[in-house]
């Protein structure tokens, strides 16, 4: 897992009560991320690799690295499918 993840630009987002609330400008789709999802969203700057994000999640939450990598991969893939993030093999400059 070496891809980078980047937050979508046409989205509004704010942390409310520890959960990230995300709203699409294009179709008003609403997403609410839990604490782990919020941590992943906040790290999705296009410069932090998914491996590094998994390391961070392991440090912050009670989960082993293999599980974290698998779950994060599934999670960001589903977010990318919804247009919330995009994935890139190239680090953002």
């Amino acid at each position: 897992m070496s891809a980078f993840v980047i937050r979508g630009e046409r989205l509004a987002a704010r942390k409310v009560g520890g959960e990230m609330v995300i709203l699409s400008a294009d179709d008003s789709s609403l997403f609410v991320l839990n604490e782990v999802g919020t941590a992943i969203w906040e790290a999705a700057d296009g410069r932090t690799s998914l491996d590094a994000i998994a390391d961070g999640v392991c440090r912050e939450f009670d989960v082993d690295l293999e599980t974290a990598r698998r779950d994060i991969s599934e999670f960001v893939t589903s977010l990318a499918g919804a247009g919330v993030v995009s994935l890139s093999e190239v680090e953002r400059q």
Partner: protein, 345 residues
């Protein structure tokens, strides 16, 4: 938008006193002179670009997600697109309220590209002579309609806001048809509020009761749940009596172009000024906000014994402008009576 999720977010914001929704007027200057307008259009020293950006920083830090930018006509600010870009950089969900007179294709494209989710445009009538007489700006309907076409063509979600008063009470069906033709949503509002300075002369423009009743009987306009008969007697349901009268001051507030912070645009009670104090200090510590937040329906002077209390859309701001924020809002008392009449006729 998923309602249950949004309800959960609102509940969380209420519990944590987060200013989730802020209405920010960037200017009171305007290129129309609407006969019912509650604002003074002279510039008394509106906030600079840097000041507005500073306030936006503070709102983002305070947890504001929903940001309504309005005026006056906000496109009269030369820095409007700079401010809009900054607001979007901070990831606000931005709604713009405008008369759209200054929106051409290039402006529509910029608004779309910056990720604005909703644009609300005021249209008073589908008839030029009626709309332009209300705005007192010749050619304004044509310019506004052209702008809506530009906005819709660019894929923006446009809502036509149709404020109804004596002059245009008969025209709502025409404006609805115009909205449908333009691919816009339609919303109407028969509320005419006193001017911010307390002048109540424009209240005389409100639609007569018979016309409001006619409006409320149109289920295609107000929906099936809007009109309800009164409860048979005083309500003793704690869920009703312990309810908050409104979200103003709890999860929402309003900021003027001069930095004054009110609970709502219709609730002009100064709680502080962001030029003199950090926004969060006003939001958390102002005695006025504390007082507004302390009020429950059971604390209102007349409403707890009213048969309409469970369904009334009482506006505490209108009550405040009538002299007592715990008192009734006579305009909403009348609306409740008319909703009940519409339900039974």
């Amino acid at each position: 938008m998923t309602t249950s999720l949004m309800d959960r977010i609102r509940d969380r914001a209420f519990a944590d006193s987060v200013p989730l929704a802020v209405h920010f007027d960037l200017t009171y200057r305007c290129n129309e002179r609407c006969v019912h307008c509650y604002l003074d259009h002279d510039d008394h020293g509106e906030m600079t670009t840097a000041e507005v950006k500073g306030v936006l920083d503070q709102l983002a830090a305070a947890g504001t997600l929903f940001l309504t930018l309005s005026g006056g006509e906000l496109l009269l600010r030369r820095d409007f697109f700079d401010l809009l870009a900054y607001a979007r950089l901070l990831r606000f969900d931005v709604k713009i309220k405008t008369n759209a007179m200054l929106v051409r294709d290039v402006e529509a494209a910029r608004i779309r590209d910056l990720g604005v989710r909703q644009v609300q445009v005021s249209v008073y009538s589908h008839r030029t002579e009626v709309h332009d007489a209300i705005t007192q700006a010749p050619g304004s309907l044509q310019r506004t309609v052209n702008a809506i076409r530009f906005l819709s063509t660019r894929g923006l979600k446009v809502t036509i806001a149709n404020v109804l008063m004596r002059q245009n009470a008969q025209d709502y069906e025409g404006v609805r048809a115009l909205a449908a033709e333009l691919g816009a949503e339609y919303t109407m509002d028969p509320t005419i509020t006193p001017k911010m300075d307390g002048d109540t002369s424009i209240v005389a423009l409100r639609m007569p009761a018979a016309q409001v009743l006619h409006l409320f009987k149109d289920r295609s306009l107000v929906g099936d749940d809007f009109c309800r008969p009164a409860a048979p007697g005083p309500v003793d349901d704690p869920e009703v009596l312990d309810a908050l009268p409104c979200s103003a001051g709890h999860i929402a507030c309003y900021i003027t172009p001069y930095g004054d912070v009110y609970p709502c645009v219709q609730f002009p009670m100064t709680t502080g000024n962001v030029r003199r104090q950090p926004f969060i200090n006003i939001w958390r510590d102002s005695p006025q906000f504390h007082e507004v937040r302390s009020i429950r329906v059971r604390d209102l002077t007349a409403c707890p014994s009213c048969g309409y209390v469970a369904t009334c859309t009482r506006c505490p701001g209108l009550a405040y402008m009538e002299g007592n924020m715990r008192g009734p809002s006579s305009a909403d008392c009348e609306k409740s009576t008319l909703r009940a009449a519409a339900a039974t006729s």
